[in-house]
Amino acid sequence: MSPRDAAPVGRETFVRARVERGGFALDVELRTEARVAVLFGPSGSGKTTLFEVLLGLHAGSRPTVRLAGRWLDDPERRLSTRVEARGLGWVPQEPMLFPHLDVAGNLRFGGPRAGSGGARALADAIEVLELGPLLARRVDQLSGGERSRVALGRALASGPQALLLDEPLASLDLALRARVLPYLLRVRDHLDLPIFYITHDPDEAQLVGEWVAVLDRGRVVACGEPRAVLWSRAVLPLSESLGLENVIEARVTACADGAARVATPSGVELSVPAPAPLAEGEPVRLGLPARDVLLAAEAPGRISARNVLAARVVAVEPAEGGALVHVDAGLPLVARLTHEAVRALELAPGRPVYCVIKAHSLRRLA
């Protein structure tokens, strides 16, 4: 069935592309209705090439592109949209701010396309990304994090129909990432824009996306809901090699003595270290490696670990060197155990267990 015979869906994205370049070939077909779609994979897997297809930079290879409900390229109808007419807000991996323009000049560059909505788009971008104080600055006077924000703002101020973000955090060190990620999430949550997001970081993929396509060597190897896909058996070797861990979203409920209490939306409370005080109600995103989740068959007595959660085993899946035990602790968690541990605790779906997590195993991502 040809893609345009499918029932018209408001935001459907459909891409079919074959691009060969040097020794590398991208050969993909993917379809999603997600507003926030992540393209995940190691470097060299073809993510950026796929973006170039979406941007219209590989028109010669005659791809089929329907992006968030809009047809951009369709060889069967001889439809091919020029780069400048695609209405996309592209943030390349390096910010590529125009060095001869100041911040305001960069932000205004895409203004003509936004037309009558331009002033609004510019004001929104400045507000959401807090760019006001930077407007008169020269580009070479910006820090790395500021540059990322300006690049994102420049794309937003052009009044795009969709955002293409290529590893927006990859060029930043960990501390900066934690500062920029909240801005990305604000853009996601405050502006009703379709977003395509490239990353090789499983934390980001789980945190940002509603949907993920996993690319490996130029092909889509899996796609679907990010948590399910990244922890699936087929993708696990790849996602673990890139640092897969549990990702938890929560809000601060209290903070004292260098530790904070946070609560997940489902009401699970956790203790986390807080070297700097956190305000009550502040959202935090936490990373927790599967190997740092201990399982106990009975409730432990007095123990230094600050987090003990009653849980139930959902699934036990073999994984290299042992097993991954998926549990429901009021939030979904995955624990990495040896075979011996799985046997000793007689772990099987349905079995009640306790998750034991040191506060210091919870790393703040943003």
Partner: protein, 230 residues
Amino acid sequence: MNEGALAGMLALTSRVAAVATLLALPPAVALGYVLARHRFRGRALVQALVALPMVLPPVAVGLGLLWLFGRRGPLGALLEALGIEVIFTWYAAVLAAALVGFPLFARACEQAFAAVDARYERVARSLGASPIRAFTRITLPLAGRGILYGALLAFARGLGEFGATAIVAGIIPGRTETLALGIWSRIQMGDDAGARALCAASFALALGAMLVAELWLRREPPATAHAARP
């Protein structure tokens, strides 16, 4: 030699070099851009052809121009029909200077464009800019310094042009006698003092042009300036 003649020669020389530079500007920018951005078959041949006016004997370049623009030449006949005479006028000096300065100019433009990351253009186009707007608003300003540097090189080269100019423009005092031609004719006439004076004037003019080129334009290439900070 009186001061009026020297001033006239200086003015003519500067005017010839300046007009020649302006004449060479559009093709040098266009060719430089194409060579910097596109890989095509025959690119090396184009580059070699572009370099020719610089490496050929200037006299040969002049003879070529004489043939092209002479009364019976293909372009000369056309221009004569329009009532324009080129040979033995200052126009011919302009043509000669433009041609010999062109290789330097085009090469400088090519390097200037090559130094501008092509991704800037792609970003500009993704933001809705047509190829022309992306070129005029992004690429050209970023390459501007390098292009101006090429223009000054071409201008400086034009100031000293002799061989080709002597053939096509002749040495007509007050009309086509530039500084370089003036020096030559002074020597022919045995006027060593006059030749020395003109040499000094040439020296000052050329030094001035090259100083501007080196000091002002080569300071800092803006296209890479942004990489200075992490």
